[in-house]
Symmetry: C2
Subunit: 202 residues, 2 copies
DNA sequence: CACTGATCTCAACGTCTGTTGAAAACGAGT
DNA sequence: ACTCGTTTTCAACAGACGTTGAGATCAGTG
């Protein structure tokens, strides 16, 4: 986390990658502590850089957050790829992909930052609602042949967010320790039900 | 939120209820903005009181949080009452009760405060994990006759937390607007499945 | 080599935070 | 009426925060 010689002033050669280092540090801090919890000073410290440089590049903390939360995967590509093979098994494919991403990205997962921030920062909540809605849920809804597709997509989102919070943030013990394939089976069936089963009461 | 005459110094008669007013204000602020977001000064302001008085009563912000988050319903009474009638329909009873409490308490729901705080405050996360575990999940697990009862309870918790976050905090549009009985039916079936269905992959 | 423009640090600002110590106002017991 | 203990406000602290403006240092261009 010290991409350049420390202490010395002035410019170091070319594109020193400092901007990218700041973004990496920001992603990690926002993911771990949310928008309010992450401080510009801590991010700058992680990147081995003066806080003022962060402002110079991004202007405000808000803008830094937006820049850092740019999703590493493009939903416009991923979602069609998952939805493509048809409704059959879509639940399992979604959950398998999600848990794969969660386990691979670990603590640096930008989705964690989004959730952590959304939960106590209304602006971030709106941001996440819009991102979830336009980038993911509407696309999934478009592929659902059953009634009330958007409600079904919201139901799926509620279970997915629940997985994220209960497993990664609250770290409920047996859930965190459970076998991946088992979780994929159980949650996949739930999502599949939300996508296709009749919605009538009881 | 101005329980006593403002501005004047010194003691007002007997037990003025100021302590309770502080706790009410704290509950509302913590529920709405989480531990970090809620400030002692704002809480004191809502209660029509000097910030120093809050410290005098509770010592630290942490202690105030703990005091404010005392659960209004005693799980030792509620859970047995829900579990009593047996496993059949337990999923629906749990969800019906939960959604009832959510809608009734609204924004002042202490569970929202717990979630909002847990998500970006590790101490609160541990607190919520322990509360969920000892007060609720273990009790539910004790009533489950299937295999791996605690994992099943964790699965239920993941969907319940998901409902809370997606519906109350993110406010996904169709989910927030959906008919109560419909949600109870859909989610009740999910919880029931987590409680009783075989857990084998796929 | 001088100029330019980007990169980067320094020092400070104003504001907000949790917290503290002292004193003021008051009810109640004697 | 005097004291005692509780309740409450006041004024200030030290630290952290986001942000700013000025200036130092360097790569590349002419």
């Amino acid at each position: 986390m010290e991409p350049t010689g420390a202490g010395r002033r002035g410019r170091r050669p070319g594109d020193s990658g400092t901007r990218a280092a700041i973004l990496d540090a920001a992603r990690a801090r926002f993911a771990g502590e949310g928008f309010r919890g992450a401080t510009v000073r801590a991010i700058a410290g992680d990147a081995g850089v003066d806080p003022a440089l962060v402002m110079h590049y991004f202007g405000t903390k808000q803008a830094l957050f937006v820049a850092a939360m740019e999703f590493p995967l493009d939903p416009a590509q991923v979602v069609p790829h998952l939805v493509g093979p048809g409704i059959d098994g879509l639940g399992e494919r979604l959950v398998r992909f999600l848990i794969g991403v969660i386990d691979e990205l670990g603590e640096a997962n930008p989705m964690l930052g989004l959730v952590r921030s959304a939960v106590s920062h209304p602006d971030a909540a709106r941001m996440m609602r819009e991102f979830l809605g336009e980038a993911i849920l509407d696309r999934v809804a478009a592929a659902i042949e059953a009634d009330r597709p958007r409600l079904r997509a919201d139901l799926c989102a509620s279970q997915i967010v629940g997985i994220l919070v209960a497993r990664q943030i609250l770290a409920l013990p047996e859930l965190a320790a459970a076998d991946r394939e088992l979780l994929i089976g159980v949650y996949g069936a739930t999502i599949q039900r939300y996508l296709t089963a009749p919605l009538g009461p009881s």
